[in-house]
C-alpha cells in the first residue's frame, strides 16, 4: 500500500512538473506576490491584503483537482486500475495526499518569498513570521487543498465538461472576495462559505494578529471531513470498494465527526470581525448597543481596595473575582452597585462569604445586602462570571486587551463601558482613583504583559490604579527598567523616540499646567487600541502612573505626526488621569486642542499643520456661553484680538493652567470658563 501510494505520488508529481501551465501559474503567483510585497511595506498588512492571490489560487487549485482526475478518465484508466489488485483505492488516496502536498508546497514557496523580502527590507525575524506561516498554511495551503478536493470531487462525480462551469461557481462562492459576488442579501452565507481571509476589506490589527483563530481551522477541517465523507460514500456506491457493513460504519462515523466539528463552530466566541465583508463588524456592534438607553445608577462613594482574580481566557473569559470594598459614604448602605461589561454574565455572587442576590442589567450589577454596610467598613464581594468581552477589547485565545479603563473587572465607577458622543463611540474610564492591591492568577494566551509584576508562574500581584492585561502579536523590549511592549510588525519600534517625546511633553505639561506628579510610566504599550469608527484623539492614549497605552496608528508618529501625538497625550495625562467628569465632551476637547496647540507652538512642532486645530473652535455646534467661549478662544489663538490683549504663548499657557485648576475644582461649566477667559484676557 505504502509503495503504491509513494509511487503514485511520484508519477503525479512528474506529470505536474511537466505541465507548463502549472509552472506558469506558480511563477505568475510568485510574481504577483512579489509586486504585492513591493507595494505593501508592512509584513502584517500584506497577508489580509493578499486575498486576490488566494482567490486566484483557489481557481487554479480547483482546476488542478479536476485535472488530477481527468488524467485518468481522459485515458479511461479507471477500469484498468480497478482490475489491478489494490491499485485503484491507493491511487485515489495518493491523489488526496498529492493535493495536500502541492498545496503545502505552494504555501511554503509563497511564505519563503514573503519572509525573504521583508527580512531583506530590515524587519526583524520575530513571532510574526511564524504567525504568517500559520496564516499561509490556513488561508493559502489549506484553502487551496479544499479547492483542489472540490475540483477533484466534481471531476470524480461528473465526467462532463460542465465541471468547469461548476468550478467557476464554486470559486465565486468560497473565496475571500465572495461577498462581491453574493452581495449584501447573502452576506451571512458569504461569511460562512468564505475560506479565505475573514476580514478582507480591513487592515491588519497588530495586536490581534492574523485571523488564525482555532475556529477557522475547525471550519476548514469540517470542509475536509465533509468532502472526505462524500468521497468515501461515492467511492463505495460507485465502485463498491467497501462492503455494505463498512459503508454503514463509515457513514455513521463521519456523521459523528461532522457533528462534533459543527458544535464548536456554533458556540459563542469572540473573533476579530471588521469591515464591509462582515455582517457584524466590531465597529458597529457597540455603536448599536450603546445607542440605546443605558442604566446609570446613583454613584455612591465606595471604593475597591483589593482584587483577587482568577482569570481564564480562552473561547470565553471566565473569572472569579474576590474584591474588598470600602464604604466611604456617611451612611449605611443596603446594596452595592458595580459596573461590569454586559458581555460578562454573573453566575454567582457572594457577600462576606454568604451568597447574595443580584440583578445584572446591561453594564450595571446590583447586589442586595442582607445586612447593613456600615460607613468605613469593608465588604468582601465574590463574583463568578463568564462571557465574551467587547469586540473592542479582545479576550480570547488569540489576543487579550483588557486595559485598566475598561470595566472587565467589576468597577465602582458606575458609568457604562461606552457612551456615544455625537454618534461617536467613546470609552468610559473605569480607573480607580487610588492604588488598589491586585492578585492575578491567569490562564490564557502567553506571554502576558501587565503593569504589575509576575511573582511566580501564572501569578502576578502588585498595587496599581488599574490592571491592564495585554497579550497577542506583540513583543517586549526592556530598557533602563522600562518595559516597552509593541506590535511585531514594526520595522523600527521607535522606543527611544517614544520615550524622549513623551518625557519632554510630560515634563513641560507638568509645569505648564501644575499637574503634580507625572512621569513616563515603567510600562508602555504601543498597540492598536481602536476600531476604525473611533476618531476622537482622546481615545488614542491612556495614562496611569505605571502604564502608558499609545495607539500604533502611525509608523511616523514621532516624526511627521508628532503634533497628533501631543493631541493624544494632553487628555491622557490631564483630565482622564484625574478622573474629571464633564457633561459636554466639547469642553475637555476645547482644553485638549488649546493646550496641545500651545505646546506644539512653543516646541515648534507641526508648524503649518495647525489650521485644522484652529478651525475646530468654529466647527463645533454651539450656542450661548459655549459659542462665546469658543469664538473668543479661536480669535485669541489666531491672534485676531485687540492690540492690548497679550497673545503670547506664555500668556495662553497661563490661562490653560487656570483653566485646568478650574476643571480640577469640579467646575466644568462654560459659564465659569467664559468668566475665566474674560478675566485672563482682560488682565493683559
Amino acid at each position: 500500500m505504502k509503495n503504491r501510494i509513494i509511487n503514485t505520488l511520484n508519477i503525479l508529481w512528474l506529470q505536474l512538473l511537466r505541465q507548463p501551465l502549472f509552472l506558469v501559474l506558480l511563477l505568475g503567483g510568485m510574481i504577483y506576490e512579489g509586486l504585492g510585497l513591493h507595494q505593501i511595506v508592512n509584513p502584517g498588512e500584506f497577508m489580509p491584503r493578499s486575498s486576490f492571490l488566494v482567490q486566484g489560487g483557489i481557481l487554479a487549485f480547483l482546476f488542478i483537482g479536476i485535472w488530477i482526475v481527468r488524467i485518468d478518465t481522459a485515458h479511461r484508466l479507471d477500469d484498468l486500475y480497478l482490475s489491478i489488485h489494490h491499485a485503484f483505492v491507493p491511487r485515489l488516496f495518493a491523489k488526496w495526499i498529492f493535493g495536500a502536498f502541492i498545496s503545502f508546497f505552494v504555501g511554503i514557496i509563497l511564505h519563503i518569498e514573503y519572509a525573504i523580502v521583508y527580512l531583506a527590507e530590515g524587519f526583524s525575524f520575530n513571532h510574526l513570521f511564524f504567525s504568517a506561516f500559520l496564516y499561509v498554511m490556513l488561508y493559502f495551503s489549506f484553502t487551496f487543498y479544499i479547492s483542489y478536493l472540490l475540483g477533484f470531487m466534481l471531476a470524480f462525480l461528473t465526467k462532463d465538461r460542465v465541471v468547469y462551469l461548476y468550478s467557476i461557481i464554486i470559486w465565486g462562492l468560497i473565496g475571500p472576495a465572495n461577498f462581491i459576488f453574493l452581495g449584501r442579501t447573502l452576506q451571512r452565507a458569504a461569511e460562512i462559505l468564505n475560506l479565505g481571509e475573514p476580514n478582507p476589506t480591513i487592515g491588519y490589527d497588530g495586536l490581534y494578529g492574523f485571523a488564525i483563530d482555532s475556529v477557522y481551522w475547525q471550519k476548514h477541517l469540517l470542509w475536509l471531513v465533509i468532502l472526505l465523507g462524500i468521497f468515501l460514500i461515492s467511492l463505495s456506491l460507485k465502485y463498491r470498494v467497501f462492503t455494505r457493513r463498512k459503508t454503514k460504519v463509515l457513514v455513521i462515523s463521519l456523521s459523528v465527526i461532522v457533528l462534533v466539528l459543527t458544535i464548536p463552530l456554533n458556540l459563542d466566541r469572540q473573533v476579530y470581525s471588521a469591515g464591509d465583508a462582515r455582517t457584524k463588524p466590531r465597529e458597529m456592534v457597540e455603536q448599536n448597543y450603546y445607542s440605546k438607553k443605558q442604566v446609570v445608577p446613583k454613584q455612591y462613594n465606595i471604593r475597591a481596595t483589593s482584587y483577587s482574580i482568577d482569570l481564564r481566557v480562552k473561547r470565553l473569559i471566565t473569572a472569579q473575582v474576590k474584591m474588598t470594598l470600602k464604604n466611604q459614604e456617611q451612611q449605611s448602605l443596603r446594596h452595592v452597585d458595580l459596573s461590569l461589561y454586559h458581555g460578562f454574565k454573573v453566575s454567582k455572587a457572594r457577600v462576606n462569604s454568604q451568597s447574595a442576590s443580584f440583578l445584572q442589567k446591561k453594564d450595571h450589577l446590583h447586589l442586595t445586602l442582607k445586612n447593613k454596610w456600615i460607613p468605613g467598613r469593608n465588604l468582601k464581594v465574590e463574583l463568578n462570571y463568564q462571557g465574551l468581552s467587547s469586540p473592542l477589547f479582545y479576550a480570547n485565545g488569540q489576543s487579550v486587551y483588557l486595559p485598566y479603563y475598561f470595566n472587565w473587572l467589576p468597577s465602582t465607577q458606575l458609568s457604562p463601558s461606552f457612551t456615544l458622543d455625537n454618534g461617536n463611540l467613546t470609552r468610559m474610564n473605569h480607573q480607580n482613583m487610588q492604588k488598589v492591591s491586585y492578585v492575578l492568577h491567569y490562564r490564557g494566551r502567553t506571554p502576558l504583559y501587565t503593569n504589575i509584576p509576575e511573582r511566580t508562574h501564572n501569578l502576578w500581584s502588585g498595587n496599581a490604579r488599574g490592571l491592564t492585561l495585554v497579550s497577542g502579536e506583540v513583543q517586549k523590549e526592556s530598557r533602563n527598567g522600562e518595559s516597552y511592549v509593541h506590535t511585531t510588525n514594526l520595522k523600527n519600534p521607535q522606543s527611544n523616540d517614544l520615550h524622549q517625546q513623551t518625557e519632554k511633553f510630560i515634563e513641560t505639561a507638568k509645569q505648564d499646567l501644575d499637574l503634580g506628579h507625572r512621569a513616563v510610566p515603567k510600562t508602555i504599550f504601543r498597540i492598536p487600541i481602536l476600531s476604525i469608527s473611533d476618531l476622537s484623539s482622546e481615545e488614542f492614549a491612556w495614562y496611569t502612573d505605571d502604564t502608558l497605552i499609545v495607539s500604533d496608528a502611525s509608523e511616523y508618529l514621532f516624526k511627521e505626526g508628532l503634533d497628533s501625538y501631543v493631541n493624544w497625550l494632553v487628555p491622557a495625562i490631564t483630565w482622564k488621569y484625574d478622573g474629571i467628569q464633564v457633561k459636554d465632551p466639547d469642553y475637555v476637547r476645547a482644553f485638549d486642542m488649546t493646550y496641545a496647540h500651545l505646546y506644539n507652538q512653543s516646541a515648534r512642532i507641526g508648524i503649518g499643520n495647525d489650521s485644522e486645530v484652529l478651525d475646530w473652535y468654529q466647527s463645533v455646534k454651539s450656542t450661548g456661553e459655549k459659542q462665546e467661549v469658543l469664538e473668543q478662544l479661536s480669535h485669541w489663538m489666531k491672534g485676531q484680538v485687540a492690540k492690548n490683549i497679550d497673545t503670547s504663548v506664555a500668556k495662553k499657557i497661563d490661562f490653560c493652567r487656570s483653566w485646568y485648576r478650574l476643571m480640577k475644582s469640579g467646575d466644568t461649566s462654560w459659564d465659569s470658563l467664559n468668566q475665566l477667559l474674560k478675566k485672563e484676557m482682560g488682565r493683559s
Partner: protein, 288 residues
Amino acid sequence: MAALKIDNIVKTFGKKRALDHVSLEITGTFGLLGPNGAGKTTLMRLIATLDTPDSGEIKLNSLSWTQPHQVRKLLGYLPQHFSIYKSLNVYEVMNHFAVLKGISEKDERKREIDRILEAVNLQDQKIKKIRALSGGMLRRLGIAQAILGDPKLVIVDEPTAGLDVQERVRFCKLLRRLAENRIIIISTHIVEDLEATCDHIAIINEGKVITSGTRRELTKHADGHIWEMDSPMDADPPIPEQVIISTVQQEDHYRIRFYHDMELPGAGQVEPNLEDAYLYYMKEADHV
C-alpha cells in the same frame, strides 16, 4: 491447464439484456467474436471484475468471482482504448504498473520490466515519451503492462483496433507468443486476429453464445456452404447482395465469394475459412 468456467451468466442494463445465460469454458488463447453490441465487452468486464453478473457464476478452479480482490491477483487487463500519461516515458509507466502490481523490490522490478519490454519489442523505446509512440507501440505497451506480474488470466479487449495491417499482424504474433502457461481471452470483431492467435473461439451475438469450439470445428460447420464464382464487371452480380462474403477484382471480372445452401450454376465450392464460418453463423442466427 486450469479452465475458466463461465456458467449461465445473465447481465441486464435497464431493459436491455446484455448477456443472456452465457456459459463457456475457456482455456489457452480464447477468442470472443461478435459484432459490435453483441455483449463481448460486457462479458470481458465481468471477467475483469469491473462489474458483477445479475446471476450465474464465474470460476477458475476453486476461485470464484465473488471474491474480486483474490481474482485481481491473477488478472492482466488491456482495455479496448488503452492510452496513458503522455508526458511520461515508457519505463516510468511500466515502473508505475509494476509497483501497483506489487513488485516492490527495485531490482526485481527493473529485471521484470526489461524482460517484458524485450518480449514486446519496446526495449529501444524505454526512455521515449508516450506521446512519441506509434499506435502499435502503444498497444504493445498496453499488453506489456497487462502481463506484468505474470498473470494467469489476461483479458485483451479489441487489441488491434486502430492498428495498420503490419502492426496488427505483429501484435497478433506477440499475443500468440505470450500465451504460454496462461489463459488469454481476446475479444474482437476482426476475424483475422483470432485466426492467427486463438485455439478456441466463441461467437457471440445479442448476448448469447451462438457457438464455441476450435477453429476447425467452427469452419467445419460451414463446409459445403461456401462458394465462389466469377462475374463480369459490366453486369450485376448473379447472387443476392446479402449472401456475398467478399468480392475481389481479377483482371476483367470479379471473383465473388458467398454462402449458399445449394449449388448455383457457374459456382464452385471452396473450403471455408473462419470469416466464412463466422458470417454463416451470423446468417443462421439472423434467420432464427
